[in-house]
């Protein structure tokens, strides 16, 4: 031992107390102190639970037409919890149409569950592609810099300048409407912004001493990117990803609203809202119910995203 006894005693006294606190643990504690964020998380949990367990609760399939209601949907198709003596809506014990039916007399509850599944999936897959591809792409570009960086970022610029909505519509028209095509289209564009953000952060990280220490130690560049750059990017990336999910859902809804998204009998929030908007005058519930899910979930994502940003980046508050 080099350190004298008194010295090591002083060090013991100065040693940190309590359980180890990683930056992640700190952020978690800050996040859970944020009421709006926790509320958003709870709402998202409920919506996700709805999408997962809804099919077991639904009394009908998404394509089954209730012939006894077809033709008088405007009067008898409403949500069954509204049934009473002054309207024609049959009681829940009879039909099980909790959310009523759509214009074709199909169970709206089952269809909303299914639409929620598709919309959430689109949002999450889009954000996941953005996180995986965008982060690595941006980190590589920013870390190596120079000519490679220039080339990689020009590719991003070119892709960004393509009017993606137009391309997406063309893709869906040419290759037929399918969920896969939708995922491909959304995946193609979602990572571009993420790549730019990750690159910018990497540029500032690269000049930090701990990266230089790793280079001086002789760590392989790709290991530096994976072990040092990416974990330090993750805070920004996660925040951006949670804010990306709702915008992906909005893209998909817009495409579906135009009638180009998922194919019947499958549906999504956008498609449901579109159909509901057509029936607005007679059956307002067909618009309001999917719209409520859409709005509430988007708020949930935004609150969680804001909470994460505050939690992971306390300096910026």
């Amino acid at each position: 031992m080099v350190v004298s006894h008194s010295q090591s005693a002083a060090l013991t006294a100065a040693a940190p107390m309590g359980p180890p606190r990683s930056l992640w643990a700190d952020a978690r504690a800050r996040f859970f102190r944020n009421r709006a964020a926790v509320g958003g998380l709870v709402v998202l949990g409920l919506v996700a639970g709805f999408a997962i367990f809804g099919p077991f609760v639904a009394q009908h399939s998404i394509e089954e037409i209730n012939w006894s209601i077809l033709g008088k949907v405007d009067d008898a198709g409403g949500p069954c919890f509204l049934s009473g003596p002054d309207n024609e809506i049959p009681p829940c014990s009879e039909t099980g149409h909790w959310f009523g039916t759509d214009a074709q007399a199909r169970d709206l509850f089952a269809r909303t569950v299914q639409g929620t599944q598709i919309s959430l999936m689109v949002g999450v897959v889009g954000a996941l592609i953005a996180v995986l591809v965008g982060t690595i792409y941006g980190a590589v570009s920013g870390y190596f810099g120079g000519r490679l960086d220039n080339m990689m970022m020009r590719v991003v610029d070119v892709l960004m300048s393509v009017p993606y909505m137009f391309v997406l519509i063309l893709l869906l028209v040419v290759f037929g409407r399918s969920i896969l095509m939708l995922f491909i289209g959304i995946g193609l564009i979602s990572w571009l912004d993420m790549a730019r953000i990750a690159r910018g952060q990497t540029l500032s990280l690269r000049s930090r001493d701990f990266i230089e220490a790793a280079i001086a130690t002789g760590v392989h560049p790709f290991r530096i990117i994976l072990r040092h750059i990416v974990p330090n990017l993750l805070g920004v990336v996660i925040v951006y990803a949670t804010l990306l999910v709702p915008s992906m859902i909005i893209y998909e809804s817009f495409i579906s609203f135009l009638g180009l998204g998922v194919q019947e009998p499958l549906t999504s929030w956008g498609a449901l809202i579109n159909e509901g908007a057509d029936q607005m005058r007679q059956g307002l519930w067909m618009l309001l119910i999917p719209l409520a899910f859409f709005v509430v979930s988007l708020f949930g994502f935004f609150f969680v995203g804001d909470g994460l940003r505050d939690a992971l980046d306390p300096k910026d508050r």
Binding site: Q7, S8, L11, A213, T217, H220
Partner: protein, 338 residues
């Protein structure tokens, strides 16, 4: 002592600085951070590197560890040129030369715990060791630098500056390198902690037979730890010699001024001594003066100083000075009675 570990021969480092509003094809300005530096580190010795900020000390160190690419000259490790190595071989060489940084906290990855940080060089260079053996060695090294080994799962921000620097030292020593380059390892620390860290380095050097390259702008610290000292001015080595000679009998007018700036902890001596004070600022390394770069601030400069770069002259055995008129500088005074 004659066993040469590391040598630089005419090492140049030039940075390209893009002009403001420059077009991609205009030639960038060149900033010469290090110019024709020759230095030698022997096995087991400590080489001190002093100079004011902007004199190229850190750049020289970075060129040696390989985070900055030299634009000219060679870095010889036991006689072998390491600037010409393939990238993979160059990385593997990192095992022998490690670095300790100035800002102790910034040099540690905030997302990793202490155990992971210290183990990283082991993971990189000693893949043959299993995780258990790595943990054992990390614990052992932490104890050696005066940290409790049970703090392995703590994070850097939970430690004080001095403790962080100990973590940095543990990381540098874990692969048992032969040379450790300390880039101002104590200038960010409290004075009381400075002494602890310097003594820790000294003790570890003795125990492990390390060579150290110790960079600082604080002469009193360098004098305490170094066996030899090189003085840098604007990227040029202007004086080199044993620590006692350079601090006790400085020859170069710049070294004299530098040493006279160290306060003597005795008010009576301090009041009576003659202190040559340098006029002006460090010239821009983008446009260094011709000939001797120090002539713009030198009290004994003559016209001939602008003509050619002065060679290193041997004033005494092993004591070299890049000033042909160093004997005239004697009138300046400024030596510290150490």
């Amino acid at each position: 002592m004659t066993d040469v570990l590391l040598e630089t021969r005419d090492l140049d480092v030039t940075f390209d600085i893009a002009k403001r509003g420059a077009m991609p094809w205009t030639r960038p300005d060149a900033l010469q951070a290090v110019s024709k530096a020759n230095l030698t580190v022997h096995r087991g010795e400590t080489l001190g590197l002093v100079g004011e900020s902007g004199s190229g000390k850190s750049t020289l160190a970075r060129a040696i560890v390989g985070t900055v690419r030299p634009t000219g000259g060679r870095v010889l490790w036991k006689g072998r040129d390491i600037t010409a190595l393939k990238p993979a071989e160059r990385r593997a060489h990192g095992r022998h030369v490690q670095m300790v940084f100035q800002d102790p906290l910034a040099a540690l990855d905030p997302r990793m715990n202490v155990g992971q940080i210290i183990a990283e060089p082991l993971k990189t260079h000693r893949g043959d060791l299993d995780a258990k053996e790595q943990r054992r060695r990390v614990g052992e090294m932490m104890e050696r630098v005066g940290l409790l080994p049970n703090l392995q799962n703590r994070y850097p921000h939970e430690f004080s500056g001095g403790q962080c620097q100990r973590i940095g030292i543990a990381r540098a020593l874990i692969t048992e390198p032969e040379l450790v380059i300390c880039d101002e390892p104590v200038s960010a620390l409290d004075v009381s902690v400075q002494a602890q860290v310097v003594n820790l380095l000294k003790g570890l050097q003795k125990d492990m037979g390390l060579s150290l390259m110790f960079i600082a702008h604080d002469l009193s610290v360098v004098r305490h730890i170094s066996s030899r000292i090189d003085v840098l001015y604007l990227g040029r080595i202007v004086e080199t010699g044993t620590a006692a000679e350079v601090t006790g009998a400085p020859k170069h007018p710049y070294t004299r001024a530098l040493i006279s700036s160290v306060p003597i902890p005795d008010p009576r001596l301090e009041r009576t001594r003659h202190r040559p004070v340098l006029k002006g600022e460090l010239p821009s390394p983008m446009d260094p003066p011709s000939g001797c770069v120090f002539r713009t601030r030198c009290p004994i400069a003559r016209e001939s100083c602008a003509e050619a770069r002065p060679p290193l002259l041997e004033a005494a055995p092993g004591h070299c000075v890049a000033c042909p008129f160093y004997e005239d500088a004697g009138a300046m005074g400024g030596a510290v009675s150490a």
